[in-house]
Amino acid sequence: MSKFFTCEIVGNSGQNANFKLLTLQPASQIIAPKPGQFYMIQTGTACDPLLKRPFSIYNFEQNHLSFLYRIRGKGTLSLSQLREGDVLQVIGPLGNSYPEPDGDFIAVAGGIGIASLLPLIRKYRQRAYLFYGAMNTGDLVMLEETRELAKEIFITTDDGSDGQKGWITHAVKDFLGELKIANQPSPRRKGALSIYACGPVPMLKALSEITRAAGLPCYASMEEHMACGIGACLGCVVKIADKRASLQRGAEAAGQFIYKRVCKEGPIFNIEDIVW
């Protein structure tokens, strides 16, 4: 089974003005994706847009792939104009996946980051405390589906048009604080309550401070501009703390980093290792 294949579009419909759900039917049997993995998808029919764009797998059922995407620039706009019956080239599944949660877990989604986390929430039904933050109520998508799947949902919006007004990371912090006071983390907790996150960099950065203070493991899905998605161009790197340097040279090596490819060693990294 090749990771490079063609698909027919069987659905490309709007969830609202900014978000669409793309459903693809591959021409052949394909490799099943794991939660957190992504695909490079052709978005136009000629040389412009030229490069494929990365999208997290949103759902995989009966050999159909679906993706939830936000219209952002040239590529996603072009994709949004394609119709049922159009044929696209796709590469995937690519990258690593979220490590398996041990018992209940926390999922923190910022905006379209929900797309990457949903497969995890779906796979481990009724085990996720979902924290979902967005700019406003119009940016919250797939709420019905998530309500059924998650154990509990906490919502914040920047303008207060839905849920609590404010940042989702504040809600996570409060929740962890309450758990600590109650001293009864979660009934199904075996190891530490792990945290999974996907969203904009400022959200992930704020979250890294909270999870470090709480001493909880946290896995973040990172985004970078990509050209190839398969590890060849070195376009998509993130800074990762250089553990070898700090082992050898201690404090002197603090702040030293190496680059890792989001498309190959990622997109999911241990949040502790990321150099912001």
Binding site: S2, K3, F4, C47, D48, P49, L50, L51, K52, K74, G75, Q89, I91, E224, H225, M226, A227, C228, G229, I230, G231, A232, C233, L234, G235, C236, V237, V238, I258, Y259, K264
Partner: protein, 311 residues
């Protein structure tokens, strides 16, 4: 192997290097080969040109490193690489499993760094030719790009020539006024072949933030957008020198590749197309075979340089 009647020969020669077909990979777009092994049979390629190597590892630039442009892309990777030593130890053994010539692309900040890299790579088992990227600034000469200054260019190629017996391919920069002149400098300094061309310098501005999109401000333009420029540069170069020329710049299809071959390139390299379509190289090889069949030509060498220029 017995040749089937009507079999077509795709094999070409670049100096002493024999290729089973004229389709190579462009440096920096094919990693060290490993990434593509799950998509194509590497044995079918004419040659593999690996990501640019320096004598010591390079971290590369901050991000964003890539941005798409109309029918192309800008990149400012900053020549991130694992260094010659790690390449020889960790990457070459993988490449040695295949029956494909390996061309090691290399660069330096100083003449000394170029020479050291060339010397080390020449000692390694499984490196069949060197490709010298001269589109780098010279640290000791006020950061003038080697490949845009005839004197620096002559100096660095002359020294590298003394350091290696492998076929030496010099990769020219298009950011010059007269590529034919630069090509002759490289030929006289001892190059066995030329690669034409590297990326064209470019910039994209984010108008809201009033900042260049790339962290490095500028980057190198590649992809179909540069193809006509590259075809013309290959044509000019072929007329200026008698050593073989490898053509590259925006090749996406067999038709694109044939433009370069007809203009005089002995072989071609596929770059950005690998990102868009990981099996592009194989489709191009098959397309060239099909073209030869349609045209009733039995040897690719009869196509090379067959351009009928308008009077």
């Amino acid at each position: 192997m017995v040749k089937r009647t009507g079999a077509r020969s795709l094999s070409v020669k670049i100096a002493s290097l024999k290729l089973k077909n004229p389709v190579m990979t462009a440096s920096g777009t094919f990693g060290y080969g490993e990434e593509y092994a799950e998509f194509i049979d590497l044995n079918r390629l004419g040659a593999i040109v690996v990501k640019g190597l320096s004598i010591t590892p390079r971290l590369g630039n901050p991000t964003p490193r890539v941005v798409e442009t109309p029918a192309g892309m800008l990149n400012a990777i900053g020549l991130q690489n694992i260094g010659v030593k790690a390449f020889v130890k960790d990457k070459l053994p993988f490449l040695r499993q295949f029956k494909v010539p390996v061309v090691a692309n290399f660069f330096g900040d100083t003449v000394h760094e170029y020479v050291s890299a060339a010397r080390e790579l020449s000692k390694a088992e499984g490196v069949n030719a060197l490709e010298m990227n001269i589109s780098c600034p010279n640290k000791q000469e006020g950061w003038i790009v080697f490949g845009t200054d005839p004197k620096s260019m002559d100096g660095v190629i002359t020294e590298v020539r003394k350091a290696t017996d492998l076929p030496l391919i010099v990769k020219l920069s298009p950011n010059v006024t007269d590529i034919g002149r630069m090509a002759r400098v490289a030929e006289n300094a001892g190059a066995d072949a030329l690669s034409v061309m590297n990326t064209i310098r470019g910039m994209v501005v984010d108008i809201r933030r009033r900042k260049p999109v790339l962290a490095n401000n500028t980057g190198g333009l590649s992809g179909p957008a540069i193809r006509p420029v590259a075809v013309q540069m290959v044509w000019d170069t072929c007329r200026a020198v008698s050593i073989p020329v490898i053509g590259m710049g925006g090749i996406m299809t067999a038709g694109d590749a044939l433009e370069f071959l007809i203009a005089g390139a002995v072989a071609i390299a596929v770059g950005t197309a690998n990102f868009v379509n990981p099996v592009a190289t194989l489709e191009i090889i098959e397309g060239i075979e099909k073209f030869l069949a349609e045209e009733g030509v039995s040897d690719i060498n009869d196509i090379i340089g067959s351009l009928r220029v308008n009077e």
